[in-house]
Every structure is written in C-alpha cells, then in structure tokens.
C-alpha cells in the first residue's frame, strides 16, 4: 500500500490512527477528576506533539541515517518561523504560502550552513553547526532586531501592510491564521459524560502534514538514497574508495532535514503567529537531539515518541505545584504527607528538567535503542505477535534489501 512494504504501511496506519484519535487517547481521565491534571488532549499541546514530531523526524533523517550529529537544527526551526510570520505580515493570513516560504527559506539556509559545516565530520561538524545556530540566535536577538523583533520576538501588528486580506478584522483585532477561511484555532468540543474531547483545526492540519512527513521519511529510509546515507554512516572512507562522493548525499540529507525543521517552524508560527529568537537557542537544538535519542535513533517512529514524551513532561509535569501535591496526599497523616510531598516536590514543577534528566539517563543506560526498544521488549514479553508494530527495518540487524 502507498508503495510501502507491508510492515511500513502498517506502521504508517498505526501512526495515522494515533494522530486521528489523539484527542481521545490523550484525554483518558474525566475532566472533573483529580487525574485530569495528566490529560494532554488540549489543542496547544497536541499541536506541539505533532509539530515537534515533524522536527524530530527530519532530524532523524540526518542523524539516524548519516550519523552526522547536528547541534544547530533549531536555527532552521527559527528561520522557518520568521519566514512564516513575515508572510503573515506581508502577504496573507493563509497558512499555505507561509508554510511554503518557511520550507524554502530554511532549505536555502540549510544549503549554506550545510555546505560549510559538512566539510568536517564528527565532533567538528557538531561544533560548526552549533556555532552557526548560536550565531543565528545572536543575530536574531540583537543585530537583526528590525527583521526579527529581537528579544520580544516577531509578531503581528494592527498596521501590517498585508497585501491579500485586511490588516485588521471588523472589530479592530489582528486576524488569526487560517486555511482558506477556516481558522487554525477553531475548535469543536465533544462531551461524553464527564469526558471532554477537543478537536482543533490547527491540530488536524499539523497532524496531516506530520503524516505526510512521516510517509516521506519512510520512503527516504527505504530508498536507494537512504541506503547511501546509511553507507555514509557505516564507513565514509570505504564509500569514497569505491568511487562514490559522499558529500552530495550528506548535503542532501542535511538540506532535507533542514526543510523538515523549517516546516515545523512554519507550523509553529501558523498555530501561534509569533517567532521568538529563543527558538534558535542551543538548548532548543539540544532538545531535538534528546527527543531523537530518547525515542530511538534511526528508527522511524522513535523521534515522534521522544518528541511526545519530552513535550508532555515540559507541559504537564512542570505545571504540578506543591498545592496539587498536597491535594493528592491529603489522605495521609499530616507529618507523612509533608514528608512525601517534600520527597516528590523536587521532581515536579520547576524540577521537571530533573525528571527528564533521570528518565533520559535510564533510557540511555538500560534501553540504548530508546523508547522503541522498550516497546519491543514489552511486545516480546507478550508474545511475538506485536513485534512488527514497533520495530522497523532501519535497525534490523541484517540489511533488508
């Protein structure tokens, strides 16, 4: 189906089902129960799941296939966002031209950075990309303030010279991004008993683009081009000796993954029309590396899972405060309650980085293949029936084709 192997088509269908039923899957707890704290099915977070999923899928095409660890991918995300916001400001509030421009500009940007950085490999390549990203961040933060809005970020204003469409709505507000009139933020709610499910236009738009990106990634993984990229990873010298120049392949992979990042950046701006320089900061580049490693480097679904896990923690764990904890453990005797809260407190709220760090260490030490490996092990426990779901050919021991 879709020109895919059976196994891959099945994976794609599973991901598609996950994306389409996410509003149900992410809101498993009734909205009036105490557990509603852990519900993640609200538009902003769901959008982030799929957008960072795209970002991580793209990063994985470079890192997972060629082994080149780019530490500056956030720069493309930022460039994509800035291009998209400028498109909103100057052309139209329709997200389509904005996203197209975001992908193109970040692609061009990736060609320039990739051309220079790919002259080196290994740690030198990482440092070069890091340097470029930090340079972009510094430029966006201060020198290029007229273009990027500096620290405050680039945002829409009431007097934008928009060519297609009005500068402001009838009631004097800034128009919101939409696709041919359908606003990205419009949301339908479904109440089933105590449960509430939210269906958001922006989420499904991003979700469909994520599925397209995922499909494209599968095709790249399974193509001869993907084989070449893996050859680069396994032994670049051997590849050169056989008379193949690895440079065009790595550059192509770099540009493709830069364009993925640009797509993610453009989508972020489409969901929320603001582009801030922090998006290009090195920690943002580091985050996508974490996502990919946490999920499983070189696997298809891994980066998506990793992105979901990290965004979940950032948005859900970080919002638990000591009051909520006291609420949970109110049934314990007073002294014990305070003790339990004091133990847990460092790991929630502002301490979510600590939790993330511990989980990351545990994953790297005990599940070197990331969450995907975890899934495979669990699947193995329950018989071999499900193994194919989580696994994919990329990390199969023997070359498939």
């Amino acid at each position: 189906m879709f020109g895919l192997e059976k196994k891959d088509a099945k994976l794609l269908l599973i991901v598609a089902a996950l994306v389409f039923f996410a509003p149900f899957l992410l809101n498993p707890f009734p909205s009036d129960s105490g557990m509603a704290q852990f519900n993640a099915g609200y538009p902003d977070l769901m959008q982030r799941f799929v957008i960072f999923g795209i970002f991580a899928i793209g990063f994985n095409i470079l890192f997972g296939l060629t082994g080149y660890l780019s530490f500056g991918h956030a720069a493309f995300l930022g460039v994509g966002s800035y291009s998209a916001v400028w498109m909103f400001k100057l052309l139209s509030m329709n997200v389509v031209p904005a996203i197209i421009l975001a992908v193109i500009v970040s692609g061009l940007f990736a060609i320039v950075i990739g051309y220079v950085s790919l002259r080196r490999s290994g740690i030198y390549f990482s440092i070069l990309t890091l340097a470029f990203a930090q340079m972009s961040f510094a430029l966006a933060y201060s020198v290029l303030t007229p273009i990027t809005g500096g620290e405050t970020g680039l945002q829409l204003a009431l007097n934008d010279p928009r060519i297609l469409g009005a500068a402001q709505t009838a009631d004097g507000n800034i128009p919101v991004p939409g696709i041919f009139g359908l606003e990205m933020r419009s949301t339908a709610e479904l109440a089933v008993g105590p449960w509430e499910f939210v269906f958001n236009v922006g989420y499904y738009f991003s979700g469909i683009l994520m599925l397209a990106s995922f499909y494209l990634a599968i095709r790249i993984f399974r193509s001869p081009f993907g084989m070449m990229l893996r050859a680069v990873k396994s032994n670049q010298q051997r590849m050169s000796y056989t008379g193949l120049n690895p440079k065009p392949y790595t550059l192509a992979a770099f540009v493709i993954s830069g364009m993925y990042a640009g797509l993610a950046g453009g989508l972020m701006a489409a969901m929320d029309p603001l582009a801030g320089a922090e998006r290009m900061f090195w920690t943002a580049s580091g985050e996508v590396v974490l996502m990919t490693i946490l999920g499983g480097v070189g696997t298809l679904i891994g980066p998506v899972l990793g992105a979901g896990a990290i965004k979940y923690m950032e948005n859900i764990i970080s919002k638990i405060n000591s009051d909520i904890l006291h609420g949970w453990f109110a049934f314990l005797p007073d002294g014990l309650e305070d003790f339990v809260v004091a133990i847990i407190y460092p790991f929630i709220g502002k301490g979510w980085h600590l939790t993330l760090g511990i989980i990351f260490m545990l994953v790297v030490i005990f599940l070197p293949g990331g969450l995907v490996e975890g899934g495979q092990r669990i699947a193995k426990l329950f018989g071999k029936k499900k193994t194919n779901d989580a696994k994919d050919g990329a990390e199969a021991k023997t070359p498939a084709e």
Partner: protein, 448 residues
C-alpha cells in the same frame, strides 16, 4: 513494491473499531454559548500565574509566586487581608471574586517567549484560566500579552520595564502596573543633576536587547535635556559575564559618568567589574567618576553586594516605604514567608488585587467589561500613592522611587535607601510620546 495488506480479519477489526467510534454518543457543545473565553460557570474562578521558575530570573519568579499565593489567600478571605484594607476601592469583600472562590494554576515561563506562550496557552485551553498574569521580562510580557489579546483573556503584566509593553506592543487586553524606562529616566535625571551637576559626560553600556535599547534611549534623552553630554553608547551581549573589556575604554573616552543599562546578572557582573577597575576612585575632568544603574532591584543589589553602595538607580517600590498600604503588605508577606517582599512581588500582588477589584466593580469577568473598569481607574493605598491606570495605553502612572545603595546596610534585605519619591506628574508623558509610538491598543477582545 505495492502490496495490499488487507486481510479479512484486518478489515473486520478496523470496521468494528470505526463503528464503535462512530457509535459514541456525540453531543457537540457549541462554543458560542459562553459569553467570553473561559467564563467561570461553577463556584470557582481560575487565575493563571505564569512566572519564571527556571532560568535567569527564577529568584524574581519565586517571589512573584509567593505574592500571588498571598493575594489569593487575601481574596478568599484568609490571612490578615493585606492591602485590601488600605485599598481605596472597597469592592472586594474577601469572599473570592464575585462570590466565586479564587483558584489558581501556575506555569513556568523559563523567561522565553515560546515557553511562556505555551504555558499560558495550556492555562487558557486546559485549565480554563480567565486571567493570566506574571512574568519577569519584557519579551515574555509582550509575547503573552499578544496571546491573551488573541484568546480573549485579560493579561495583567508582572515585572516588565521596557517602554514597548505599553508602547509599540500595547494591547487592549493587557495592563501594566510596573513603571517603565521612560519613567526611570525622567525620575533619575533631576536627582543626578542635583548630585552630580549639569556638566557631565555620560558613557552608556547597554544590554543588547529590546529593554536595553528603550532604557538607554530614555536615560539618554532625559539627561541630555538637563545639559549632560553622551560620549558613547556601547551594546554588550546579553550573555556576557565579564565586562572588563567594555569597562577599560570608558576611562579613555573622557566620560565621567558610567550608565549601566543592565538588569539581573548582567548588572551584577558589570557593576562588579566597574568597581574592581577602580572607576569610583577616579577623578575625570576634575570630578569624581560616578556610576548609575537605571533599574534597580533588591535581588540585584544583593547579588552585587558591597559594590552597590552609593550608586543611584530607580525602582518601582521598596519595602521600606512607610505608607499604610506598603506597611500592611510587608507585614502580611513577612508574617507568611519571613522576609520582606521584592518589587516584583509587590507589582504582582497589586495587579491581582486590581484585577479582582475591576471584576467586582464591572460585575462581570468578561475582558471588555474588566478593561473598561480598569481604564482611567484612579486608586490609592496600594503602596505607590495616588495611581492612575491610563485608558490610552493601559499604563499605571504613579510615583517613582529614586534609590541609592545603602552605605551601612543593617540586614541582607536592607540594601537600598530611598533618596527621593518622584511625583507622578513628573514622570507622566503624552500617550503619543516618540518613545512609545508605533503601536495601537486595538479593541478589547472577549474571545469566543
């Protein structure tokens, strides 16, 4: 390549699953029934406190959160009521807001626009917050303010000092109680003239981002109006930690005053460097060399230690103020937490009370009604004397404090002394002042 993988079993499974999904009773609730976004319908109302809990301003964020918790306690009738008893408006009863118990959710802005918006969005979309407040940086304030405008939520800014928050980036749903760069310049300049004379040559070191620019501009134009000359202005990267290379050229420039447009850790480092270079013992043009820090905070003074002694700056509020409101606030904050509040805590506490009061007076949580109640609102008893929430730009106009690093601090909190309380009239400017031009409030947004 193309292989169909449809099996009878697979089709049946998918069909059953899809059927089950469709069979779920579907009651779509139209979102238009609510009069405005997140209209509180139950017996409680949720406020969103979005403060930096990690990152460079985490200390301020922690203090802001304490103030918010205190404000919620007071609104719900707990504690000693704090400034509610000294507040000139008596609409608040201590029974929550409009009889609804106040609950709150917290989030971490990380002092990043993106993270702050994500956190604010989750408060709006998930927790149903009807008002967002907090923040300790202008970038975050501007970003969250724009988001709240879009979503139809009131934003009560926390600590944000850049002119842009109520200047070019002002929004109809956003309100700022804190003072701004222009006010700092206007309050500081006369004091500086009095202390140092009108024949001075200033050298600016400015943090290379939005807040730095507006502060530099404000101080520069205010001091130049009094006869000072600006020798040079140099931008320093925000991430700079060692300012030695920027301090050395100051002496060669012939300047006799150094203005440090730095905040937080930047200011702590640059001031320490300048003092270590012995700038303050130098004589230039026959005058003592002086250093000025436009925006002071107690937390910064603590970081810079003995180096702040005798250095002038401005601040929004200080716990040593002796009016009834400040005393009541310092007292209830001190009782609860054991130390005096910072200016960030003060502005956040006041913003929460002002919001609650505006809702009571408007009789509605609808942002447009609240905005109308706040616009042009004059009040007293919240620590800064008579204050006006100006309708044209949603900026508060009140007295500004000019402070000096204390020579002989008596405790670790007693680091600044108030030199002068600059009356509000002196720091008031026209809404279309050039330093604030280029933006428009737009109209208030009630959202869906």
């Amino acid at each position: 390549m193309s292989k169909s993988n449809l099996t009878r079993r697979g089709v049946l499974k998918t069909g059953a699953l899809g059927g089950a999904g469709l069979a779920v009773p579907t009651i779509f609730t139209a979102s238009s029934v609510a009069a405005h976004t997140n209209e509180p319908t139950g017996s409680t109302v949720t406020l969103g406190f979005n403060v930096p809990q990690t990152g460079p301003y985490a200390d301020e964020g922690a203090d802001e959160l304490r103030a918010y918790e205190l404000a919620v306690e007071h609104l719900n009738g707990g504690g000693d009521g704090g400034m509610m008893s000294t507040f000139s408006s008596k609409a608040l009863q201590g029974n929550g807001i409009l009889g609804k118990k106040v609950e709150y959710v917290t989030g971490d802005t990380q002092t990043k626009s993106d993270a702050a918006r994500a956190s604010a969005k989750s408060m709006i979309e998930k927790d149903g917050a009807v008002m967002i407040t907090g923040g300790s940086s202008s970038g975050v304030a501007v970003a969250v303010q724009a988001l709240c405008q879009e979503a139809g939520i009131i934003f009560m800014a926390g600590l944000t000092h850049s002119n842009d928050t109520t200047g070019k980036d002002k929004r109809a749903n956003g309100f700022r109680h804190f003072f701004n760069s222009y006010m700092s310049g206007a309050a500081l300049a006369p004091v500086l003239e009095k202390m140092y004379g009108s024949d001075r040559k200033a050298y600016h070191l400015t943090a290379d981002y939005n807040w730095g620019y507006t502060t530099e501009e404000a101080v520069k134009s205010s001091t130049e109006a009094l006869g000072w000359e600006t020798v040079n202005t140099v931008k320093t990267p925000l991430t700079q930690t060692d300012f030695s290379s920027y301090i050395a050229p100051v002496l060669q420039s012939g300047a006799d005053v150094l203005v440090l447009n730095h905040y937080g850790g930047n200011m702590v480092n640059s001031l320490t460097n300048a003092v270590q270079f012995g700038l303050r013992e130098k004589q230039v043009n026959g005058k003592n060399f002086e250093i000025v820090v436009p925006l002071y905070s107690r937390l910064m003074a603590k970081g810079a230690g003995a180096n702040v002694k005798g250095i002038f700056g401005s601040t929004n509020w200080h716990w040593s103020l002796q009016d009834a409101g400040s005393k009541a606030f310092v007292n209830s904050f001190g009782t609860k937490y054991g130390f005096p509040p910072s200016q960030a805590a003060h502005t956040c506490y006041v913003q929460t009370l002002l919001y609650a009061d505006a809702v009571e007076r408007a009789g509605s949580f609808a942002p447009c009604a609240v905005a109308e109640a706040l616009e042009g609102f004059e009040f007293d008893g919240l620590g800064n004397g008579k204050t006006l929430y100006r309708a044209e730009d949603h900026q508060c106009f009140k007295d500004v404090l000019v402070v000096k690093g204390k020579e002989n601090p008596t405790s670790e909190f007693d680091l600044l002394e108030i030199v002068e309380v600059t009356p509000a009239a002196q720091v008031t400017y026209a809404p279309d002042h050039p330093q604030f031009s280029g933006g428009a409030l737009g109209t208030c947004n009630n959202g869906a």
